[in-house]
Symmetry: C2
């Protein structure tokens, strides 16, 4: 019980939804075979990354939670006896959609959901069109494997999100992600962006004395509208320990991985680096301002 | 005016205060010769790192601000026409001391001060005995070179400090530091700690789209009380750009360095990564709690 074995399923997606789901299913089974107790899927693993353009018909891809996809994976979680982190396009009501993570327990029940709080919007990533910002706050999800600090993609750039999860008792930070290179950028800029993405998340692990797992998709996806350049998702899923040390780092190919983190490491690290003791909560009021001008 | 040339002065210290001051003076002159407009000294550069043990006589090392040391360096700032970041042991009143950074303008005037807000305390770093936590908040210091987000050492582990400086318009984060290896730790643990120290700060640069400079002391200093194992300060002063990219990284030897950062880079980076646009200030209230239990 001292170690937690985490499965990471990193794959490409196409317009063939059934094929995408099958890849996730195969990945979960494979991760379970490797010994994983917790399996994390990438962001929006059921579909292509449809936010490359703004098309109202894409809302047809959304589904209710619980719904057909949670049913499929609930049966699988139960079969494999693993906790699974799904990432779905949630239809909450007509005209009200979220980017939502669902955590399934080993018995197939829904342990909890998290609705992406920080929504990006930049060329090729038109998420503000599709996703209403989350209204469930930063609440870890209680499971048989501990409290999971599930966040999603763009959240990973915000230290506030990681801190609030930590303060609420999260034992690990988990980020399903879909992030890629802009084909128009130089190779140097692409590398700088990918390294920044890894660094800021490792920084959250350090600042909070907590392990962290990020699972990103791979593969090139053209913009179906033909307007954008498409995106090459950079993979590089990784696991960091509570000192931000890299425990595992994948490449840009599809893969299923099982990585162990030591559960008692956080407490040991926080004893030598007691940041939670020394936070100046008397002087942090302005963090809830947009800007201090 | 588009680039900012920053001087970093990294040196060892002994019980010989005059010799320490001379090293800082020589360093500032050398940095100015190299073209630096801003020179950053390491934490408590005037003295040995006296916090290795708790001795009331060490309070004799404190001085008023303005005081003899600010006078020496004010004359030098004026002579060299540079902005200087000092780090001093401030005597504010009998029994009231701070760990304080002073920013000197090119004309020798005091542009502003910052009193270390987060105070560490762990074996060999008994700072809570010496330093009253700062009461000036997280306010950038306005200078002829822009708004400087001056923080000190332990502050560097707290994303809140970096964020508050950024929200108040800081154009660069500056950390005078004194951090070292515990000789009792394995080489592996020492490396993990140093890498965590670099990573968390690079993470602040990324999260805030702002360059960052950290200047750390070097050299072994024995514990004068004979009780502790002493500390080997790890140097590794560095400068990161607004994507967290390493622009400069020193080693563990004494040195004076001049490094240029591009002033317009922050705005360019924040346009592609508009984190300040997307912060969920409606959901951050609990950041001013000690813990969310």
């Amino acid at each position: 019980m001292n170690n937690l074995a985490i499965g990471l399923v990193q794959h490409s997606c196409t317009a063939d939804i059934d094929a995408n789901i099958q890849k996730s299913i195969d990945g979960i089974k494979r991760a379970a075979d490797l010994g994983a107790e917790l399996v994390v899927l990438q962001e929006l693993h059921r579909t292509p990354y449809f936010c490359q353009s703004e098309e109202v018909t894409n809302f047809d891809l959304a589904e209710e939670i619980p719904g057909p996809t949670t049913e499929i994976f609930a049966a699988l979680a139960q079969e494999c006896r693993v906790v699974v982190v799904l990432s779905l396009f949630e239809r909450r009501a007509a005209g009200l959609y979220h980017n939502t993570a669902v955590v399934l327990e080993k018995d197939g029940s829904i342990a909890g959901t998290y609705r992406k709080m920080h929504i990006p919007d930049d060329p090729g990533y038109y998420e503000k069109f599709y996703f209403t910002p989350g209204d469930l706050g930063f609440q870890p999800i209680d499971t048989s494997l501990g409290k999971l600090g599930v966040l999603i993609c763009w959240d990973q750039w915000f230290p506030e999100a990681a801190r609030l999860m930590t303060l609420a008792g999260a034992e690990i930070l988990i980020y399903p992600t879909a992030i890629g290179f802009d084909p128009n950028d130089s190779r140097e800029e692409q590398q700088r962006q990918m390294e920044a993405w890894i660094t800021v998340q490792r920084g959250h692990a350090v600042a909070n004395g907590i392990p962290l797992v990020a699972v990103n998709r791979v593969g090139f996806e053209a913009d179906p509208s033909g307007r954008g350049q498409g995106a090459r998702f950079w993979g590089n899923s990784f696991v960091a320990g509570p000192q931000g040390e890299m425990i595992f780092h994948s490449g840009e190919d599809e893969g299923v991985f099982c990585v162990e983190v030591k559960r008692d490491q956080s407490e040991a690290v926080r004893r030598i680096w007691p940041f939670l003791r020394d936070r100046r909560i008397d002087a942090y009021q302005d963090l809830i301002k947009r800007f201090r001008d």
